[in-house]
């Protein structure tokens, strides 16, 4: 049944970088298909850019530096935000939503701070706020969490959501090379930016963890709530040691719902490099690919896999949102509202139960293991596996310990105590182990 074609809908595009250029291309090249899917044609009313002199392969009459006036136009129904940054972007988004215009954005940093404010504005104006592209690029993960799992209870979301760090860790594992070597290669290949801090220190993943946790647990979680460690101190030796435990190392964004000792539901959002068992579906997600693993009470284990970045994949996610927002305009409907009814407390990292991997240089004499083991048992931390690695002539032996699950605070206190032990020369690495049920 063909739907009647309605009045043209106007689109304002803010930003024309890698993603914006692809969004414009799709809007223009696929206009007929989009019209059929929406039930009305979409027309680009204007594109806000910083420099209108630059040739961008589109009608120059569309370009403007005045984003606010573009947003305000009466014939703009949908605002696509791919300009990035916090301000003036936030002000633009609020302006659009307050005027009842639907907003589609890929801006994870903005959302990780201001989803509450933006969602309130959208709710008041009964406008749509969509952001599938903000997490894991082309991989549909926001919509499945918000809609497909709307009748289930999500228990865990564990994602490889940053392509740069996954490229680096995959290559370190594959080639046995050092972090710095692979980082330099990633830069040459365009997988790492000139200043890679946001990626390698986990800030990008932490923004995404905040968004995922908010949606999965119906609770407002911001980037500040996310515990964060980057990958800069992961060594080739760690990856070798992980292999000996049939694991690899991945930077994970983990969102977890758990019941604390008092029987209360709490959520945790955290980003860190972790050992992942090779048989876990996340372990084989290599290179610049992303994947989001979900455990829900009834659905069980799910995984979503695909390209996590890049102009065309991200534009695909943006355009899915644009088509849905446009359909809602045509049919006077609205997408799912932002819903934070559960409002669960966010637990500090110390209260989270995790497993630790601790590598240390120790004196090569009797009694060392006993002294080390004492520090674990003194804090009720149970050891799962001990591995003594080949002696190094000048520095004694290398001891690697995997623990069972324990409160992170007890684990980190144990590590501090180990550093003060006479027999421990140095604690060389502390990582967590995820993806097991022990």
């Amino acid at each position: 049944m063909t739907e009647p074609v309605n009045r043209e809908l106007g689109v304002a595009l803010l930003g024309m970088g890698t993603v914006g250029a692809e969004v414009a291309r799709i809007l223009i090249d696929n206009a007929d298909d989009i019209t059929a899917r929406v039930g009305a044609p979409l027309a680009i009313r204007g594109i806000a850019v910083r420099d209108i002199a630059k040739d961008r392969g589109v009608d120059p009459a569309l370009l403007t530096t005045d984003a606010a006036s573009l947003i305000d136009r009466d014939d703009v129904d949908i605002v696509i935000e791919v300009m990035g940054g916090i301000e003036p972007t936030r002000t633009h988004m609020l302006r659009a939503l307050q005027a009842g215009k639907s907003v589609v954005t890929a801006n994870k940093a903005l959302l990780a701070e201001y989803t509450g404010e933006l969602a309130d504005a959208a709710n008041r104006a009964r406008a749509d706020l969509y952001f599938e592209a903000a997490v894991a690029g082309a991989i549909p993960v926001i919509r499945p969490l918000q809609q497909s799992l709307a009748g289930d209870s999500v228990e865990l979301v564990a994602g490889i959501v940053n392509g740069t760090t996954n490229f680096i860790l995959s290559n370190m594992a594959e080639k046995g090379e050092a972090y710095e070597t692979v980082l330099a290669e990633a830069g040459r290949l365009g997988y790492a930016e000139a200043d890679p801090t946001a990626d390698v220190e986990g800030y990008d993943a932490a923004s995404k963890a905040a968004i995922l946790a908010s949606i999965a647990f119906h609770t407002r979680v911001t980037a500040d709530d996310v515990y964060r460690e980057g990958i800069t101190s992961v060594t080739a030796a760690d990856i070798e040691a992980a292999k000996a435990f049939d694991c690899t190392i991945k930077l994970l964004a983990i969102c977890e719902r758990f019941t604390d000792a008092a029987g209360e539901q709490r959520v945790s959002a955290r980003v860190y490099p972790a050992l992942v068992p090779l048989k876990h579906p996340l372990a084989s997600v290599d290179g610049a690919y992303n994947a989001v693993f979900v455990e829900a009470e009834n659905a069980g284990r799910l995984m979503f896999y695909g390209a996590g970045a890049g102009g065309a994949p991200t534009a695909s996610a943006v355009m899915g949102d644009v088509v849905m927002a446009a359909r809602n305009k045509v049919h006077s409907g609205r997408g799912p509202l932002d819903s934070v009814y559960a409002n669960l407390p966010v637990a500090p990292i110390g209260d989270v139960h995790t497993r630790y991997y601790v590598a240390m240089e120790v004196a090569d004499r009797p009694g060392v293991l006993s002294a080390v083991a004492n520090e674990f048992s003194a804090r009720n931390v149970s050891i799962s596996t001990v591995r003594q690695q080949a002696d190094t002539p000048d520095r004694g032996a290398r001891l690697v310990i995997l623990t069972h699950k324990a409160p992170d605070a007890a684990l980190s206190a144990t590590v501090e105590a180990l550093k003060n032990l006479d027999v421990v020369t140095a604690v060389s690495s502390v990582l967590r182990l995820e993806g097991t049920n022990d």
Copy 2:
């Protein structure tokens, strides 16, 4: 921002088998969460079953054998259909939709035949028709295809969508056992039904292929349009031979859009056991798990993975649809309409370009390969790899050939010609190879 709670919405549940019992449990146990997500409480008005005398762990006053009267109740807003079968189910669904009630169904066989009729009824009454649970159980795949990829062009969907056959093929590959042995084991473990025909002959997967192709390509595809082969003739020797080509064998439901020689867009939907390269993401989907691999023009390669069957996972998908349908009732909105605007012609299998794997017993004498190769080249089929397997004293040699892509009709004509060659004792296996770009 908490939404105002609206009037109670009434739910009619048709069927209380494995899935229905889980749906009822979730509706009752998770009532508070569901109310928060919908913005209104959901109440079960009744459950239609065949035998009301049986104890089902719910209030017996809810049970009825009169599905039609239950559907007709003024206080029923949403009908959940998990009773299965074609009639009277189809009549019930149409009755509900015509009365403007939203329908959530997991009935792939019904949808594969009657989606057109049901969608027309839904469109006329502006009611929702949701069926996420009909394909790949708990794995969100309908909604991602319909919504997340609404701004993209899907080129290929290749799914492992039948748990029984995947369990059988995985176990054959792992243990080197014969089809019959593993089928018997699957029956003992509850992975295969007493009459496994619908699974092992590919009928179940063909229904799902029809649904996936319809949504991916905005074209009405029914089960009759789907080319189908089952797994009953796959042998342990085929799986061994596949391993030698770094492949495994999977039953795939493939939906493909392609441009034919005349430059016209056509679609193909087909189900058959195929060799899949071990490095392809689908190859490592083992046991009763399902996965759907998607290639789209802009999004690139995506994969969705999870539990494809079972009461709780299927109920999770049903409940996601129920919550979305209920939200639409509360907000007077509607989900995406059935849209078959593209209406592309479905190509017969003979016009599809595939790669063949052909295993044959041949005479062990000079000139055999040349005679065999002649039959391929006579039909413009290019050979990729030839492998001669260990001689069998009484039957000559075993020859295995992989082709490049060619029209299926040319490939199948080649196989017919090979059967008539003097030097070919028997063509023992013909399978296709998928998941490569050659």
